[in-house]
């Protein structure tokens, strides 16, 4: 399976990887090591990962479980700190920051989209989207405007008062995407965003992601183990045994919007209330 993708994509390798001296990247991982201690045992999750991501890229990160892709994602998301090596985000070395400083970085520079949506239950879509701005200390009026705007971008302007349990999986993931954009982050990290969705809804969520990337130039890093989902990105980085195994551009990424249009129209379950 993995081999097939590599064959499809290996022709064009990211120019950034070839030439690391090309200006400051948005994200620069510099020989990142991550070691977990479990009793006497040392587990080397990452063994010197170097990676550059430029502004406006749409990168898929792939790999089997245990390959180090989740650890990389946690470090990229400033949820975890590398044991060795440096992580530059927007030119700032964030690998040695304190817990609180990392929280502020996550708040201002990173948007998260998770597999399990991770919305606050019994909290309306609007309030969920407002949450990151609350921690940034944005005034109520502006918070409302920006939250509504973000929900509009993901096509849920008419659902903002719904609770998560009144929304379908695809709609919940759109709310999560709106929440991830609302503080204008440098990058959106999507961790298996389609893992809990059926294939049609997955395509739908990917079309929202592609739209954000293409029309708004938002940088997206997408972790997935599904090769066909990775094909919506423009670059695929494959991890194996704690190292980057391959890093390649995709010549002709799939277009989720076109695929959606070609799919037979369903009983539109997306817009049905539960």
């Amino acid at each position: 399976m993995e081999a097939r993708i590599l064959n499809d994509t290996s022709e064009t390798v990211s120019k950034r990887t070839l030439d690391p001296l090309l200006g400051p990247a948005l994200i620069k991982l510099d020989h990142i090591h991550k070691t977990y201690k479990m009793g006497d045992l040392e587990i080397h999750a990452l063994r010197g990962v170097s990676l550059h991501i430029d502004r406006g890229e749409f990168v898929a990160i792939m790999g089997a479980s245990g390959s180090g892709k989740s650890t990389t994602m946690n470090i990229l998301g400033c949820l975890d700190k590398p044991t060795r090596g440096h992580y530059y985000l927007d030119g700032q070395d964030v690998s040695k920051l304190s817990r609180d400083e990392l929280a502020d970085i996550r708040n201002r520079k990173i948007g998260f989209v998770f597999q399990g949506f991770n919305l606050l239950s019994r909290t309306s879509a609007l309030e969920n989207v407002e949450l990151p701005m609350l921690y940034l200390g944005i005034k109520t009026a502006e918070r409302l405007t920006r939250a509504k705007e973000a929900l509009g971008i993901v096509g849920l302007a008419d659902r903002m008062d719904n609770m998560p349990n009144q929304l379908s999986g695809g709609q919940q993931q759109r709310v999560a995407i709106a929440r991830s954009l609302v503080n204008h982050p440098s990058i959106i990290l999507a961790d298996e965003p389609t893992g809990n969705l059926d294939s049609r809804t997955a395509v739908d969520v990917m079309s929202v992601s592609q739209k954000l990337n293409e029309e708004r130039g938002i940088t997206i890093a997408l972790v997935t183990h599904e090769p066909d989902i990775a094909q919506y990105a423009r670059r695929v980085v494959v991890f194996k045994d704690g190292r980057v195994k391959s890093d390649a551009m995709i010549k002709n990424p799939r277009s989720a919007r076109e695929e959606l249009e070609s799919l037979p129209p369903l009983e539109d379950e997306e817009d049905d209330d539960e």
Binding site: N74, G77, L79, D80, R99, D100, A103, D104, R106, N107, R108, F112, F114, N118, L119, L120, S121, R122, T123, E127, L131, P132, L134, Y135, L136, G137, R179, N183
Partner: protein, 407 residues
Amino acid sequence: MNLFLTFKVALRALGRNKLRSSLTMLGIIIGVGAVIAMVGIGQGASSSIQSQIANLGDNMLFVMSGSLNTGGMRGGAGSNNTLTPEDSDAIERECPSVRAVSPGVRANGQLVFGNQNWVASSGIQGTNEKFPDIRRWPLATGEFFTEGDVRTSSRVCVIGKTVADNLFAGTDPIAQTLRIRNLPFRVIGVLSVKGQNQYGQDQDDTVIVPYTTAQKKMLSITHINQVMVSAISPAATFTAEKQITELLRQRHKLGPNQEADFFVRNLTDVADAADQSSKIMTNLLASIAGVSLLVGGIGIMNIMLVSVTERTREIGIRMAIGARSGVIRRQFLIESITLSVVGGIIGVAFGVGASIIISKTLNWPTLVSPISIVASVVFSVFVGVAFGYYPARKAAGLDPIDALRYE
């Protein structure tokens, strides 16, 4: 993030689970309510005991003659006729801690008015003109007898309300002639209602006459049965007791090893003991109620701990999108303080209501003091902080990655 916003976040979080929030508050509501009600009942009881004591008289001491001891047979208190009116005068004259004295002579006998007769259960009391002052017992109508009446052993009397009701139903007793032990007396006053004493005896069922009249015209005696003494202050009752004992031992020519032929009873002692026991009662009730408040606090801690576990994912989400640990800690702390303070305020209302209901239905006096209200509210804030701190710290210490992965 400022405190106001954290407060808002905490309130929203509480509002998201109203049932759990209100059940948690219930512990504090019952705890604070119980403290307020129990302290109210205790203080009410204490104040009613104090008013009963005050009702008895003004810083009162009783001097009674001792028991008669002849040939091995002892007659009991008051059976020895050793107290004289001169002793009474000497006490008033020579004891600096004494404000006023009233010698007392007891008698029993039938009262007759017209075709009605009656035997007063509290008897016929011979005393002097200071009796209403010492006993704090004003007249309802008419007047009390004077020093002149005492000196001349006049046949005048003042009657209690019960006697007036039973003998003079429908007529004004003032200036009527009442026959006491077959002697005609002029009624000059009616005492106001005093009610029962603490032993249930009707204090209004009595007739008061000058003690000289009782001595000479009814009983043909020269001694008196007792002296009622009023000290200058509650504290002075103890020095008065000492002074009287010394004076009477001297007057009765008693040697240092001789047993006294009189005894002095300090009612303040009795009052103090009663007051003390009601205070012990109040403290006992308050500490039982305090235990329930403690249980309520532990309830809050328990729920907050469960809540931290149950909301681990929520905490992870909040941390992932940029909440600092301090913000999470404050949120949980504010949640627990809000629960305990709102619970405390409802509990105060509850306790005041319970006190009112208890005092109405059981006819118990209750006294809700502002101090107990303030103390309860302050204590519930303390409970909120004390029992909310550990769960809040636990929440703030979570690792965002683990918290996000928590199922």
